[in-house]
């Protein structure tokens, strides 16, 4: 916690540096001579940056490496027979030493070497903290002196400050790239570890999903076949699209071509409410309303329909996607040029003939792109399927039975305690990588199509 106080002190001192920089520049201006190149605030900001950035960087480095460095130093001071222990036991001992040094108790009796190491550790920590304060203060003072010495009326303070601002802006927009790289690398890393347990061929083409929860040996790993899960995802997506595409597309056509402006201004936001509802609510809806309803229908007509089945999940997911399909299609239909419609009307076509023979074919590429985006949504959807699909990872084509999907399995394998050494947990990352690849592919194709379509009519 003391480190955070130091951060606050540095920030406060930056305020002081700002004031002194601005004051000095004003004094220079008042003393006559050359006109200032920049505003006093720029000089102040420049001085503050000169002082604060090095100090904060040092602080950050200290925060990142202090713990590991001290652990390594303490570990090297431990007795030889302790250091010869396997790495996980050694880590356990170091954890005990750490909690001793922090003043917490530990279970069991404290060995003399542990007490000694703990004393050394707390001493190192004190020394480290004092050194940090000294170094940060030195960096600050050095920065202040340099900046104030550089401060002349001709110094282009505005340009320098703004260069730092733009660099900060670039860093912020790089977060997007870092996130993507983080997703790919973390999942790839864990997936590679998973493939050390299970051969990629057995994973991608296996037809049995039955990971047993035992970690003894490679033989006990059970079946890690992706196909039943992928099939479940595909089946539910097909059902969802079968619901969402006709309703969504017809809604878009009706609202953009037929509806009065008043109906449109009421119905569109009302439908968009569906898009804003959290998926957990849809899951609950599926579980308590749609599932029992379907089961009752099944009982009435003599077909066995399970309350939690591919059909339930697919139907509700379809409802969820309706506004997505309809608003995207709406955008695309309204982009079809007026002249094409007028031409068709002029030839005597009715309104629906114009829509079916002229508007829809013209809008088709864009609509296909919108459907692909909807498919990618459906493939990645989790909560509805977790709650309403029944979680039965078997390869069967009956939509009235329970099924499992890639996303459900990721949740099942990673809920509770995460053990990053067992294939049972690691498989989630291999599944996630598969999911990411599929949705990425769909998105890239869809965005490309939609963009091409927009350019066509612009």
């Amino acid at each position: 916690m003391s480190i955070w106080w130091l951060v606050i002190v540095v920030l406060a001192a930056m305020g002081f540096a700002y004031q002194s920089g601005a004051a000095k520049s004003r004094k220079l201006a008042a003393a006559g001579g050359a006109k200032l190149h920049s505003l006093p605030t720029h000089y102040g900001a420049l001085v503050a940056l000169w002082c604060g950035i090095p100090a904060l960087v040092i602080l950050l480095l200290f925060l990142a490496f202090e713990g590991d460095l001290i652990r390594a130093m303490v570990a090297s001071g431990l007795p030889d027979q302790v250091r010869a222990l396997p790495s996980n036991q050694l880590a356990g001992i170091l954890n005990r030493v750490e909690s001793l040094a922090s003043g917490y108790g530990v279970a069991g009796s404290v060995e003399p070497f542990e007490a000694e190491a703990a004393a050394q550790m707390s001493q190192l920590r004190t020394v480290g903290n004092l050194a940090l304060i000294a170094v940060v203060a030195a960096a600050f003072v050095l920065g202040l002196a340099t900046a104030l010495r550089r401060l002349t009326p001709r110094l282009r303070a505005r340009n320098e400050v703004e260069r730092v601002v733009v660099i900060a802006l670039i860093a912020c927009s790089a977060v997007a790239i870092v996130t993507t790289v983080g997703i790919v690398l973390s999942m790839l890393g864990e997936a590679v570890r998973f493939f050390q347990f299970v051969h990629p061929f057995d994973f991608f083409f296996g037809t049995v999903w039955n990971p047993r929860f035992s970690t003894v040996g490679a033989g006990a790993s059970g079946g890690y076949g992706l196909l039943p899960l992928l099939w479940g995802t595909v089946l539910i997506t097909i059902i969802a699209m079968a619901v969402a595409v006709p309703i969504g597309l017809m809604t878009a056509i009706y609202l953009s071509e037929y509806a009065s402006p008043r109906l449109r201004s009421l119905a569109k936001p009302a439908l968009e409410i569906l898009a804003g509802i959290p998926t957990i609510v849809y899951g609950f809806f599926a579980l308590t309303v749609v599932g029992p309803f379907l089961a009752a229908i099944g009982a009435a007509i003599g077909v066995e329909i399970r309350a939690t089945s591919a059909l339930t999940a697919g139907l509700v997911m379809g409802i969820m996607i309706i506004p997505f399909v309809s608003s995207l299609s709406d955008d695309i239909i309204t982009q079809v040029p007026r002249a094409m419609r007028d031409g068709s009307f002029g030839l005597g076509a009715t309104h629906s003939e114009t829509i079916r023979r002229v508007v829809l074919p013209a809008a088709l590429p864009g609509i296909v792109g919108a459907f692909l985006l909807a498919v990618s949504r459906a493939v990645g959807e989790t909560m509805i399927v977790v709650m309403a699909a029944g979680n039965a990872p078997v390869l069967q084509a009956n939509p009235l039975q329970a099924i499992s999907t890639v996303t459900v399995t990721i949740v099942n394998q990673l809920t509770g305690d995460i053990d990053f050494t067992s294939p049972q947990s690691l498989v989630a990352f291999a599944l996630g990588l598969t999911l990411f690849t599929i949705t990425l592919g769909l998105n890239i194709v869809a965005l490309y199509i939609v963009r091409r379509y927009r350019e066509q009519y612009e």
Partner: protein
């Protein structure tokens, strides 16, 4: 005119004839098509209506809960505790604290359940005295601690009789609300025949009421005492996460949007960033959960179930939304404003900071609120970073264990006591939806209030 018509060639009139003949069919097709379109809209709207009707029908009754109002006698023979220690002259504060703690421990050890039993038995026929366990289970178990807290606050009430409104057990609540088929056999009902008779007696005496379920808002989740389970912990957890999302994603997102829209040269790197942001906006949320589990928990070593990790994951998810809406807002600001500022000698950073950004503020605010509302309802990634653990305390810092509102809904819907928790879950959904609708309404209001058309 009639002459001209008769002069028309034979072929043309036959094709006009053909068109006229097909008109009825084509108009029928037109009407069909229009009807299908209308049907689609009605279907979509009725889904909205059914969904809300279901949630409201199940959830609204759960905002009221069955309670028993009883005169509770704080019998000194049952609560055998000495009077609360007072600070003595010459006693150090630490010693006094220690004495106080010892007193509290003694207080916790008292048989508070017996007080409730006695209060109930006073209202019930005498033969109930032989079925103390059944009687005790009419009131939810956590109410004992409430009595203890009352004494701790005011030790003077020992020996007195105070009228207390106690939460009934979840099964009593189900029974009173008729959420269970009363014709089921004894083996299938959670309350045994005697308990049901006692409930009826208490009800006839007017001691049972439906009171507003304060527990839903003030208490944390509870396993042993479902009737007192509440959303407080989940609410604070969600609050922490939303604060983290706002603090991190707004500056980063706005900065990224400003760079891409105002400064970035058209080159490969900017293209890459753009494609990246568009794709991130469409990456399934569960993938962000996997990222959080691998990077924040496994690699950096942050604790499981912490709102900090949840906030970071949701920040990464919300960033693309904020960047995209901010860019759209910036693009809508006319270039003439920038030209004017630059013409007066402002640098590009000054132009953006002094002129463009203030004009874009309402749009940025709207985008942020919509992004935060989305993040508030997100469940799947939180399950992967351990937020589905049972937590029976309100988190004090973002590093404590916690759940979140949507995760609490997920946990409750899976509870075995379906008849009770279906209502609780729906009530929690109503709370969540109200929050989201409030946020969205705020966004719409701000947009209407501050929107400028150029």
């Amino acid at each position: 005119m009639s002459v001209a018509t008769s002069d028309l060639p034979e072929t043309r009139s036959s094709s006009a004839e053909k068109v006229r003949g097909s008109l009825a069919r084509r108009h029928a097709a037109e009407r069909r098509f229009k009807a299908i379109g209308m049907l689609a809209v009605i279907l979509g709207l009725s889904f909205v209506a059914i969904l809300f009707a279901t949630v409201l029908r199940k959830g609204v009754p759960a905002f009221w809960q069955t309670t028993v109002t009883l005169p509770v006698h704080f019998d000194p023979a049952v609560v055998k505790v000495p009077p609360m220690p007072a600070p003595q002259a010459g006693q150090s504060p630490a010693a006094y604290q220690e004495e106080l703690t010892a007193w509290r421990t003694m207080l916790a050890g008292a048989n508070w359940g017996r007080l409730i039993e006695n209060a109930l038995l006073a209202e019930l026929p005498p033969e109930a005295a032989s079925r103390r366990r059944d009687v005790q289970r009419l009131v939810t178990s956590s109410e004992r601690f409430r009595l203890r807290d009352m004494v701790e606050r005011d030790p003077g009430i020992i020996g007195q009789t105070v009228t207390v409104t106690l939460l009934a057990d979840a099964n009593v609540d189900i029974w009173m609300k008729g959420n269970v088929d009363r014709s089921l056999s004894d083996a299938q009902l959670a309350l045994n025949p005697e308990q049901r008779r006692y409930v009826d007696i208490l009800n006839e005496r007017g001691l049972i009421q439906q009171s507003f379920a304060k527990a839903l808002f003030l208490n944390v989740d509870s396993r042993s005492s479902p009737a007192s389970a509440g959303l407080a912990g989940a609410f604070v957890g969600s609050l922490f996460m939303m604060l983290i999302v706002i603090v991190l994603s707004v500056p980063i997102g706005v900065a990224a949007a400003i760079y891409l829209e105002e400064f970035a040269p058209k080159n490969r790197l900017t293209d890459l960033i753009e494609i990246n942001i568009n794709n991130l906006a469409a990456v399934p949320s569960i993938v962000f959960g996997l990222l959080g589990a691998a990077v924040f928990i496994n690699w950096i070593g942050l604790p499981l179930s912490a709102p900090l990790v949840g906030g970071l994951v949701l920040t990464l998810m919300t960033l693309p939304t904020i960047i995209i809406t901010t860019r759209a807002t910036l693009r809508a600001i006319p270039p003439s404003i920038r030209s004017a500022a630059v013409g007066l000698g402002a640098s590009r950073v000054q132009t953006v900071a002094h002129h463009v950004l203030p004009l874009a503020l309402p749009g940025i605010l709207t985008g942020t609120i919509i992004g935060v509302a989305q993040a508030l309802g997100e469940t799947a990634p939180l399950l992967l970073i351990g937020m589905s653990a049972f937590v029976a305390s309100v988190p004090a810092t973002p590093l404590d264990q916690s759940t979140a509102l949507p995760v609490q809904i997920y946990l409750w819907q899976g509870n075995e006591l379906r008849n009770f928790f279906e209502g609780r879950t729906s009530a929690a959904i109503i709370v969540l939806l109200s929050l989201m609708i409030a946020l969205n309404a705020l966004a719409i209001f701000l947009r209407r209030r501050f929107e400028r058309r150029w």
